[in-house]
């Protein structure tokens, strides 16, 4: 089982459900390049300006670790990275679990993604406003610096620290993406998990994804917010395990 985090945090997002999944699955989680404790040297503003670069990384990871066909669990924007990767090399994927996915965040004609271009510009401003909370002294913390633990203790918000310049590139890649046309090409069993109230991926968007991926299942979790794996870990893990058992995995 391969767990991919979305925009805004890192693989810590999975900490509440990994124990329940690891009982009978090998669980692999990772930080996208530009997030969490990824190697800053691997960053490439061009490669990561679109979801395609992240999807390539997912395929590289499968190849490098010689993973058998995986159940890919992608949260938020990582759901669409999984769709892109599974469309490129379907033989590497046994199933897709899309957690609060959105194929397109911007409104477009009759399609309601929930956001306008001006909203996304506002988000980029928010990232900038919190720029000042970031400094170069964060880098060793993020890179994991076991010989200087005091650095970590000084930080209140020690998880999900990301270089704001990289975060801005990731934000653009995320919120300006449009992967609606890729949904119809998904050929692996797919589960969609959504929350009853989600300001980022509203229920209509979940329904849109279900309608456009043939044979996909949609489960609405009794959870609010955009991160059910944190706010309702038991329900999220149960829905995931139910789907896998049904699929005989």
């Amino acid at each position: 089982m391969l767990l991919a985090h979305g925009f805004g945090c890192d693989q810590n997002m999975w900490r509440r459900i990994v124990p329940a999944l690891a009982v009978d699955h090998r669980v692999v989680s990772f930080d996208h390049v530009g997030s969490g404790r990824s190697d800053p040297a691997a960053w490439d503003a061009d490669r990561y300006a679109s979801l395609s670069g992240y999807a390539d990384d997912i395929l590289d990871l499968c190849r490098e670790l010689a993973l058998p066909p995986v159940t890919f669990v992608g949260h938020s924007v990582a759901a669409m990275m999984g769709v892109l990767a599974a469309n490129r090399e379907p033989e590497r994927f046994a199933a897709l679990v899309l957690v609060t996915p959105s194929p397109c965040y911007l409104d477009d004609g009759a399609y309601r993604g929930g956001f306008s271009r001006a909203d996304i510009d506002e988000l980029l401003e928010s990232l900038d406003s919190n720029y000042l909370g970031w400094s170069a002294t964060m880098a060793p913390v993020i890179m994991g610096n076991p010989d200087r633990p005091e650095l970590g203790e000084e930080l209140t918000n020690s998880f999900c620290r990301t270089d704001p310049a990289m975060a801005a590139v990731f934000a653009r890649a995320t919120f300006l993406s449009d992967n609606r046309a890729d949904l119809a090409r998904v050929s692996v069993p797919t589960l969609i998990l959504q929350c009853s109230h989600d300001a980022i991926a509203p229920p209509e968007v979940g329904s849109y994804v279900r309608e456009h991926i043939t044979g996909s299942r949609l489960v609405t979790l009794p959870a609010t917010g955009h991160c059910p794996q944190l706010s309702a870990p038991e329900a999220t893990a149960a829905a995931l395990r139910g789907f896998l058992e049904e699929a005989g995995r």
Binding site: G6, F7, G8, C9, N12, M13, R15, S76, F115, S116, D119, I120, D121, E122, L123, L124, E125, S126, L127, D128, S129, N130, Y131, L132, G133, T156, N157, S158, F159, C160, F175, H197, D198, A199, I200, T224, G225, H226, C227, L230, S231
Partner: protein, 391 residues
Amino acid sequence: MLEDSTDDLYEDAPCGNVSTLLDGTVARINRTLLSWLGYGRDEVVGLRRFSDLLTVGGRIYYETHYAPLLTMQGEVGGVALDLRAKDGRRLPVLVSSTVKTGGDGRPLLIRTTVYDARDRRAYEEELLRARRAAEAAEQAAHQDRQRLQKLVASLQRSLLPRKLAAPPGMDVAAHYQAASADEVGGDFYDLFPLDGDRWGFFLGDVCGKGVEAAAVTALARYTLRAAAVYDPDPGEVLSNLNTVLYQEYLSGDHRSCTVVFGVLGPPTGEGRRVTVTGGGHPPALLLTAAGAADYVPTSGGPLVGMFAGLRFTAHTLMLRPGDTLILYTDGLTDARTDDAGRYGHEALLEFAASIAPASAAAAVAALAGLLGGFGADLDDDAAIMALGVTG
């Protein structure tokens, strides 16, 4: 003693207080925050989530960063967000939250404090603007430098032959190493055919660097080529160059130069006769087929362009099969070595003896390697040209 009521303190605190259920629904909110927002209590409590009170962009930041952190850590501090007031105004605030847990450790509600950050954010925006301006300036400087280096490289290329053409029965090679990518150097060389199977060659060094030196370099180079067409006698050619450079003596851009000029005679069974003369230039090196190395007296003449009416005396030598004549500029001998001294002529002669005999290509490759070994501390440009008669 003045008594303050905790109720009053909560309601009219100099900051906004809001308590929400775990799903974000507002359970309690103080008067201060309501007055900032322009909402009545009954328009918010039980109806709106805290994130509904933010701008849309702020809401995305809240859902993707703030809420996950709060869940994982139980608290989040000092995050910059914008509230959206009822009348549409944006209120820059700093937000901190803690999760209140029950006796069993289960989370019960979220307490959030909101500080008015208009002044601070205005200040921070100034900082951000300054930072962006600094970043833009740095990038512009970087681009300017790249443009300059490209220009310098193409100007430098225009002052040196693209590739040396080898006279029949000879192998020739050259190497040029710039001291700086930002400045054009003053070193120059060329090898070119004259009439009757004769070839002219020169290698020199205009004092100084930069565009002014490059202009003099171009003048020297074309004067030598043109003078050699009329009368290839090396002494005459250098006299011509001296006259031309001396004409510029009174101008502010005047520069002198050092140079070696020579003519390769037509090939004979013995090799080629070389007539060569120099003005203020380090002596050429001769590597013989027998494996000896020695300086050729080409440095006798004075610096070119400093005095009127100079005469230059030519020397003659035989370049036999397997012999290689090496010309170089003082960038090679004046290079700084590890022990803080200069490389010098003695060391160069020893080095030359250690590689002799050598073809022109092999000699230039060995000397280029030597230059490379001096590292990045080359004070001056260095040019090397080798002319060998093949065996």
